[in-house]
Symmetry: D2
Subunit: 312 residues, 4 copies
């Protein structure tokens, strides 16, 4: 069954909030999301700023220690423009370079607006701050997750085992993400759409827009997982969220080794393969928790008779 979900209320924490939509596992949902400032498809701010989430969506049949699979079937902007900040965050440059960055930390930040050129598949900045730039359109979802364990309700400014504000550009159309379920129904939250974003979200924003995301849900054929996992047509991914990056990388690396063992590798083979074939990406390096993804090509798993997909 397909649902079209337009929230009447938004949350700035991911937690055990009352379900706004109850669906069956294997349903699909198109979710409308305001932008990071709570600004909607009509350019009206309808809820306070700070990554307001659509949801939670209760997925019937999912219980703690299950793993939820969310596939992004499409991500569509629901207005024709986005915006970004024309700066670099204080924490991503050397302390002695901060004063060389435009709009030093603490300054009031103006917005640079970008227009979505659907015909050419690009986004084009208006050049109010710096010159006009044209970049390939590459939509993604910055923040999504399920209710964390222990009754926590965690700000959508950060991330953890449950997902959150990871700002990882490979979380885009065609990607299936696996998250550990901590409460009945999982309670999925989503928002913070970007029309494009560099790695790290180092200015504090992507090109922020209101979006509609069509998601398919499933119960993943996995035992309890510790950190988020994902797959697309090319890669398996594991994701760690922590600060410093070193710790996020430790989480992602440990989770990949666990996963490869589940894929059929013995512990030694998994270590040898990872040493010579793994790749890392950096997600958000702006938030309290940073994001590191560890990825491995599915083709390498196939070539060695290891399981390479967990999709239905």
């Amino acid at each position: 069954m397909h649902h079209h979900f337009v929230p009447t209320q938004y949350y700035r924490t991911i937690g055990t909030h009352p379900a706004a939509l109850v669906i069956s596992v294997d349903d699909t949902v198109t979710v409308e999301c305001v932008d990071a400032h709570g600004i909607d498809r009509n350019n009206a701010q309808i809820t306070p700023s700070g990554n307001p989430m659509s949801g939670p969506i209760h997925v019937r049949g999912l219980t703690p220690d299950d793993v939820i699979a969310i596939t992004f079937m499409s991500i569509e902007p629901i207005r024709n423009h986005g915006w970004s900040y024309p700066t670099l965050a204080g924490n991503v440059v050397d302390p002695e370079y901060i004063t060389a960055v435009p709009y030093a930390p603490g300054s009031a930040l103006p917005k640079e607006y970008w227009d979505y050129d659907r015909a050419n598949n690009t986004v084009i900045s208006r050049g109010t701050h710096g010159r006009s730039l044209t970049l390939p359109y590459a939509p993604m979802v910055g923040c999504f997750g399920v209710a964390p364990a222990r009754g926590e309700a965690i700000s959508t400014a950060t991330s953890g085992r449950y997902g959150g504000n990871m700002d990882y550009k490979h979380f885009t159309t065609g990607c299936t993400i696996y998250l550990p379920v901590a409460v009945d129904g999982a309670l999925f939250h989503i928002g913070d759409g970007h029309l494009v974003q560099g790695c790290g979200e180092i200015g504090g924003t992507g090109v922020e827009s209101a979006i509609a995301v069509t998601c398919a849900f499933a119960k993943a054929p996995m035992q309890r997982i510790t950190w988020p996992r994902a797959e697309d047509d090319t890669y398996l991914y594991t994701v760690g969220n922590a600060r410093p990056l070193d710790q996020a990388l430790q989480h992602a690396t440990s989770e990949m080794h666990r996963w490869l063992v589940e894929c059929g590798a013995d512990a030694i083979t998994a270590a040898v393969l990872m040493s010579q074939a793994i790749e890392y990406d950096i997600g958000n390096v702006f938030d309290p928790a940073y994001t590191v993804a560890c990825k491995i090509k599915k083709s390498l798993l196939d070539a060695h008779q290891l399981r390479s997909t967990f999709r239905a």
Copy 2:
């Protein structure tokens, strides 16, 4: 002029050692390098283990505050096999996962040998430790650099502004690397060849082999740089070496902003572009200093009338 350089002495620090070869800027040199354990083309250990370097090569005409450009014209193995350790380093997994990794830290580590299959362009592990794996051949240089400032002589187990053990897989054939010259003649050192390596060198080794690297040298058309830079056909790169990764990323990000301004962007445009278009890679996460690369596509610079190459 072309030189073929086979060292008679190796160094395990990068420093102001006596020049082993003196060349003119714009000369090319084929340098033979033993592997990380000091084992040569004939499988004989001819010098102590620990990333022994070939060099230093004195490049006439380079003086402090110049920038040296080194282009890897070819990287060829000079024996038909390499080896790797079948483990993951203690610092790349969660502390509580260390005991689940094969050959826990402190254990004696056996070597897994790999054969180079030139016909198929692959490397194939022998399966002594875990099952046999076949990976694409992707040679790279793990460690190279120029004498650091202040008379320092720094272990080839680590890295810094002068280069060093960065283990970054895009430092391969076709890449031009820019390093800050601190002493007359630059004093270039090179070694630690890998037939393939995953990002991070997370098991402590790539597939270690003896190699011959053909390098072209030049004086780069740049003012004094702070951190290594590089370019290949697709990207401009900046590289930070430090721990934690957060600081390495700060170095690389600051250096990229400085470079884009030199490419013709104003400071605001550079910040906007970086926020939405930068990518990060992770080099070595095994050494005392970790390596982060920041990269941007040359095609984006070309599209916006920014300088995109500094090659001769």
Copy 3:
């Protein structure tokens, strides 16, 4: 007015939970707290493990951006023993040393019990794990805080601007702590008593016991603060909670500079004084967020005509 508060319900998050006790500002309260495992004065586990909190206490008249002052007037154990784990946490030793530590991460951890010898003012371990040790009795409160902003409910396993599981041994009898109020009534939570604890809580526990803490409350004469502050007879303290320690130290150092300016120093004098007179302590280094305290002697402030107390 004095209250004696024995909870009927405990929370393992610090958040905007329903008030369990409503008091006036300037009231005092004796709060009974179970230990970190939810074990009470009668050695019965009455609530799930994981730093269960007594509270929240609603302090009438405190509103967002106020600063609450909590003075620990007394900390008394309400049973005659405590317990600790006979290990060191995986994250406080070198990765290659983890296997040398007793009860490596992931092992089932036995408890070592300690008896409180009131006559001699000591705690004495029973020697079930290792030999019997006798240490000076030095009670402290490991975890306390006020509801965070934005509707967050944060696990008592960690800490932040609102307080939390800081495990700082100078948070003991005679200390006044200042926390930023984010919700009406502040909503104070407290628990996790220790009969003694080394810096860092590096084994994951102090000597854990059920305690009764007598607290005095007040509205502090301060504008909005960013991080916790405290004072006792000897020192002013500022506290940062984050990982890595470097960031916790940045928070604490920035907050101290802000505070010294409020004490009457100009910004330059505050910097000169801090450079030559500050001290740092390390609180918890076991949790997701670590704790660093920055402190300065009140006598130095007095000697230079700077304000040195904010007590009523």
Copy 4:
């Protein structure tokens, strides 16, 4: 035998330089040191700035894997004033607070001069930058160490296993420091005297002066150590040097556990004792490598029949 050593040459790296003085183990030496800027007792700059070292002193009879003991018998200023920078370093405050600090990173830094008042045992700033401050005189040695292994020569701006620029205020008169010997004769270097310094050296300087340090040397009754150790009348200390602080703390904590086992504790008792009795201090947090000390009271070791001194 006693020596009085006034260098004719200074080094800004700690490495295997030619011995400037050769002594017998058990000799004592009074070493004159210029300040961090190379300024001598007569206020003349006689060597380039950057922590120039007096030495190296070759101690006959010490060979690799021995442990050298250096006792600071006295530290005397050899001029009547010192200087400090009136700022806080960019890396010790929050990125968004950097612009609030006087003399932001990159600015030209003026010097604030301090006079040594021998009669009152204080140092008094002249109030050129901010108001005049009077602090207790507390001299210490900022930088000292022995030649590192592998032929490294490491800048005196940083630190490592061999010692270096640790800026730890308990390295003062009465302290005996133990360092791992890597080369014949140890090759001891020393300099960077401070008349007083806050923890962390967070402005980048203590009160910098030229000093004369009288040192006693000995071969310590210890097997090979991994990180520096020390003792004074009250404490045993272990010291880790690395970035981030988390890693420095791991080094210091591991070394303390090793040492307590050498003192007679079994591994479990050492862990229990450390958990409940250890203290941490923070040394330098300005340099490339940061310094953390772990310390434990000798009285606790004595009370439990553990060895508490390694002095001759």
